[in-house]
Amino acid sequence: MTAAPTTMRLLKDIDEPGLATREVYERLGGYAAMRKAVTEMGPDEVLAQISESDVRGRGGAGFAMGKKAGFIPKGDMDKYLVCNADESEPGAFKDRVLIQRNPHRLIEGCIIAARAIGANKSFIYIRGEYELQGDILEAAVAEAYEAGYLGRDILDQGFDLDLVVHRGAGAYICGEETGLLDSLEGKRGNPRLKPPFPANAGLYQGPTLINNVETLCNVPLVIGMGVEAYREVGSEKSKGTKVVSVSGNVQRPGNYEVPLGTKIRDIVYGLAGGPLEGREIKCFFPGGSSAPVLTGDEGLDLAYDFETMAQAGSMLGSGSIIVVDDAQPLVPLALRLAQFYRHESCGKCTPCREGTNWTVKMLERVDSGEATPMDLELLQQVQTNIEGNCLCVLGDSMAMPIGSMLVKFRAEFEQHAESARMRNDAAVVEQPSPELAASPQAGPA
């Protein structure tokens, strides 16, 4: 592997004061790639460059953006570009920083991507909780309209594009692409049956390209620096850099941009400072709370890219590393995780709706000491039965991490249940029985 020229691309100049304004962004070379793409290149050329660069979706699935954009039919019709800024995955906060600090890069990416697929209408679906970021983005969009980068006849090239910032109202499921489309159409955010895929029948049944914020922020880089330069950084199959959100039990939680393929140990210990003094890493989620956990021993020395994570039985997902240290009991963590997915399940598919609910109930039993050894078997079985049996992957997103915890830390779950049970037994023995007899109404203390 050659030495990386620079690892700071998306987060370069991120601390520059006033970067959210068009003036500062353009002073630092912003919108040059957009000018190039709109005035010097044809749509096919832009699309070809995106394909050649191997930009992969940074939202979770890691699907090649060029391939996805290539599925959009050619010809004159209503096509849509949708940016998924509904970042709600526990542990993920990269999009928040990209929007808050550098909204114009995202707008520039939207213009170039819309140019590539021939879309004239684009939407940024930002989660409702991001009030500040939504305001910043709206102000930036207004600036872009004022400068003539959005609207009718952009840069006198006969290319029209409207960009609307659409705010959600608090639903994790709207981060799923078809759920997002339904929500954007003014419905409940229930995922749709696929196929047809959004590339054929998406928003308002028109061809739609949906990409994550970070993916679209990479697009101006590809066009601006050229495919060759873009591909210099990264591992064999995963090109470019990745903004990694590190959180949990580390000394310096935050966003760090690294070339794909960087060793996880270098990210967690080198950049984020490692676990707190005197603690060891028990396990970590390599790709947000939906990714199966890896233990410290098996995962820390792996390269952080899409392929290696998949081979290790986990996934890179949104690129959020949540570190769990050895002082954290796993059962309450698994319970909190399951509660999140129970709350956010939209209820459309039975395995997810019921599976998340029963997982919470069973984990509550494990936590309170009412579980039998059979419960852990059942818990595992429920996870297996959710995976792959729903329209979207929300259920899988709970089943995979909980299933992996059960396999890798089975002893801890058993011990937790057993010690809770013994605590309950002890409480019953200590119960002063005469008092109980005197006031039968009183429950156990």
Partner: protein, 238 residues
């Protein structure tokens, strides 16, 4: 084959009723959490749900203009349902029956449709929950840094101070794990929090000022943990 008892009668129903029967009564009555009579057979003689007419519902002009502007942004005006409901919620404090009627009249949908949307999304409240909100993130990363204690402290402080008109609740990941544990106070992200910060947050909500100056996400002097440390060594890839 099961006969569809509703079929024939439903098809005879007018699409839009001539008059809105009992509209005034609907506005006045408080909305129960579960519609009464849900377990009774449907009253097929009753008028079907109708789209309220603008002539029958008084909509505040600024709210009407806001909703109509949002509808104009989309190829299908119905896309503006969530922004419109959020605007109505800001106006009324929560999505009361009247608020729903107003949005329905402007957007030309039934209030029931709006209710189906409002019940789906966490930030839309069909019950009065307070004009202010404190969402305390207790999701995975914040859970790992003891967010539950922060939440309990805020609830306790709010009770002690008798803070009303505020929706305090545990929330799912708010996307600011770098300032864990954190909370969103009327959209202002503050963190990292400690249970001892609870009285200040409650006092700030009561006084209508920004809580924890210097510790919000948008504050220019906000320093997430570790940001002041010397930049870590660039690892040589190999």
């Amino acid at each position: 084959m099961v006969a569809d008892g509703n079929g024939s009668i439903r098809s005879e129903r007018p699409l839009v009723a001539d008059r809105l029967v009992g509209l005034d009564h609907q506005i006045a009555s408080a909305k129960p959490s579960v519609a009464g009579g849900w377990d009774l057979p449907a009253d097929l003689d009753k008028d079907p749900a109708v789209i309220p007419q603008l002539a029958d519902v008084r909509v505040p002009p600024e709210l009407k203009a806001d909703i109509e502007y949002r509808m104009s942004l989309y190829p299908d005006p119905r896309s503006a349902v969530i922004p419109a409901l959020r605007a109505a919620q800001r106006h009324h404090g929560y999505l009361s029956t009247l608020a729903m009627l107003q949005v329905a009249a402007v957007m030309k949908v039934t209030p029931a449709y709006l209710s189906s949307i409002a019940s789906f999304y966490d930030m839309l409240n069909e019950e009065p929950r307070g004009r202010h909100y404190v969402y305390v993130c207790t999701s995975v990363s914040c859970h790992l840094s003891n967010a539950k204690a922060v939440f309990d402290a805020i609830v306790e402080a709010a009770e002690e101070a008798d803070l009303g008109d505020t929706d305090i609740r545990e929330f799912e990941c708010l996307g600011a794990c770098d300032m864990q544990p954190m909370a969103s106070v009327d959209g202002r992200y503050v963190g990292p929090l400690d249970p001892s910060d609870a009285p200040e947050i409650v006092a700030a909500v009561r006084e209508g000022r920004k809580p924890l100056p210097g510790r919000g996400l948008e504050d220019s002097d906000h320093m997430p943990p570790g940001a002041g440390d010397p930049p870590p060594q660039e690892e040589a890839p190999g």
